[in-house]
């Protein structure tokens, strides 16, 4: 049973996606989809391809075979007379506006204040007037619990605070979906909670989210579906209660016993 806030519409759809790094096959005919409003957590041992899968969704990685669609639109390629042709960078950039991304290492722009980090894209890409962009940015900072950090530079913020600014920065473009690549892995333990809380609020607000994480407790609490990857393949996908209580695939069992004990 899926919660009513999740629509039947597939916001993200990957079909038979293949990806090599040199001779190494990191994604092996992966099928994957996310419904609008759904929160999907990707888990798997390191090297299983979960981060690569995430990065294919906004074309930070190109794919060698298969298709990636966001909101129905093919990402990174266009069909021309039945063939797939690589898009130009500028066209890919346009598509990326729909997809927000939060990185493991925050990647805030160090030469800009928190406010400038957040307003950059709305100002330059959406043509939002400066006053409006700043007002929205302050509202976002309040939403992530940092109303008084607008003028702080990234280096003046703790890791947890930086990651929350990074979330606000991604939200500023009002994306249809948010991708999180191990958002708490680079944080000191005492700062993990504040970031997860922000993400939980975001999930409650109905945002579509795809999250790569090792936080099993969080996955269990917040996600609608957990997708398990191993050796470049999706081996199992199920609602969290079902998956954690009764894992079907041996790889899932091995992973869970390694993580939970």
């Amino acid at each position: 049973m899926k919660p009513p806030r999740i629509s039947d519409e597939r916001l993200i759809e990957l079909n038979a996606v293949e990806k090599w790094f040199g001779p190494v096959k990191v994604l092996d005919k992966v099928d994957f989809h996310v419904h609008r409003g759904e929160v999907v957590v990707l888990i798997g041992p390191s090297g299983s391809g979960k981060t690569t899968l995430l990065r294919c969704i906004n074309h930070l990685e190109s794919v060698q075979a298969g298709q990636v669609r966001v909101n129905g639109a093919l990402i990174g390629y266009r069909e021309r007379r039945g063939k797939l042709v690589a898009d130009r960078e500028r066209d890919i950039a346009f598509q990326r506006r729909e997809v927000g991304m939060v990185f493991q290492r925050f990647n805030l722009f160090p030469h800009m204040t928190a406010l400038e980090n957040i307003t950059l894209a709305p100002l330059r890409l959406r043509g939002v007037p400066k006053a409006k962009a700043e007002e929205d940015a302050r509202a976002l900072l309040a939403r992530v619990g940092l109303p008084d950090k607008a003028d702080a530079y990234p280096a003046q913020l703790s890791g947890g605070q930086q990651q929350r600014v990074a979330i606000a920065r991604a939200l500023a473009m009002q994306p249809a979906v948010m991708l999180f690549d191990e958002p708490t892995s680079a944080l000191d333990p005492e700062m993990v909670g504040e970031v997860l809380t922000v993400m939980q609020d975001l999930a409650k607000s109905g945002m579509t989210m795809v999250i790569v994480t090792h936080e099993m407790g969080f996955a269990r609490q917040v996600s609608d579906r957990v997708v398990v990857m191993a050796e470049g393949r999706v081996v199992e996908a199920a609602a969290p209660d079902q998956l954690f209580a009764n894992p079907q695939h041996p790889k899932t069992r091995a992973l869970l016993s390694a993580v939970l004990h």
Binding site: F109, L120, A121, L125, D188, M191
Partner: protein, 252 residues
């Protein structure tokens, strides 16, 4: 030893109009060639980093040739060589009564083309010093490549390339003497002309050296000032690579 102190002092403190014109031309050559070289260098750098193979190898070839052959040879090649081959002749241009000799145009162009090859590598090193995560975060926001460079990468690269740019202009100031060979009356050529009439080589070249030393010293003082200013505006960046907990302790 014969050193005519009076002559030396007169040349140093009350130089001839011809020498002052030469000084002006030296500065004009250096500033315009550096400016042009910095712009061309940026184009070459982007070509060098392009995914387009033809562009990339064109840029690689350009850098290879311009850095691998003597500047003096390039200057003669561009001014005298091209004209002799009937490819390009630099004619004097008259702009509102001020004559801009063909030799000066060719001199600026040659110095700039040479500079561009070095600046391209300076830019490339600066851009390469910026963390890959910065490119990715900027791209993920949906910024097109031009904006990624302009708003995110170049401001960070600038901190790294300011020092080598300072070096490059210092070298440029001195390299202007080479265009004397195609008849540009900058400081060296003026000095040589005076020398051919007076044969006070030691005194005259001492004066010439001191004027160059003054120019490069002024430039260095400016750089020191700029570096201090930048250091002040960069306080927040100081803790950039430190783990967050350290940064917090430092702030406390």
């Amino acid at each position: 030893m014969h050193f005519d102190w009076t002559y030396f002092r007169d040349q140093l403190f009350t130089p001839s109009t011809a020498f002052l014109d030469g000084l002006f031309l030296t500065v004009l050559l250096a500033v315009s060639a550096e400016a042009l070289g910095m712009i061309l260098g940026l184009v070459v750098a982007f070509g060098r980093m392009s995914r387009n193979r033809a562009l990339k190898w064109l840029a690689v070839g350009y850098i290879w040739v311009m850095r691998g052959t003597p500047l003096l040879v390039q200057i003669v090649f561009i001014y005298t060589g091209l004209a002799a081959a009937g490819i390009l002749r630099f004619n004097d241009i008259n702009v509102a009564g001020i004559v801009f000799p063909g030799s000066v145009q060719a001199g600026i162009l040659a110095l700039a083309l040479h500079e561009a090859a070095y600046m391209a590598e300076v830019y490339r090193a600066g851009i390469g010093s910026v963390d890959i995560g910065q490119f990715e975060a900027a791209k993920a926001l949906g910024l097109p490549p031009s904006m990624v460079m302009r708003y995110v990468i170049m401001p960070q690269a600038l901190r790294v390339i300011l020092l080598p740019i300072g070096n490059q202009f210092n070298i440029m100031l001195k390299n202007t003497t080479l265009v004397s060979v195609i008849g540009v009356s900058e400081m060296l050529l003026v000095t040589e002309t005076i020398n051919s009439a007076t044969f006070r080589t030691f005194e005259l070249y001492s004066v010439l050296a001191l004027y160059f030393l003054a120019l490069t010293t002024l430039w260095q003082l400016f750089l020191n000032w700029a570096e201090r200013r930048l250091a002040r505006s960069r306080v927040p960046q100081a803790a950039k690579q430190r783990p967050a907990s350290d940064a917090q302790e430092a702030a406390a």
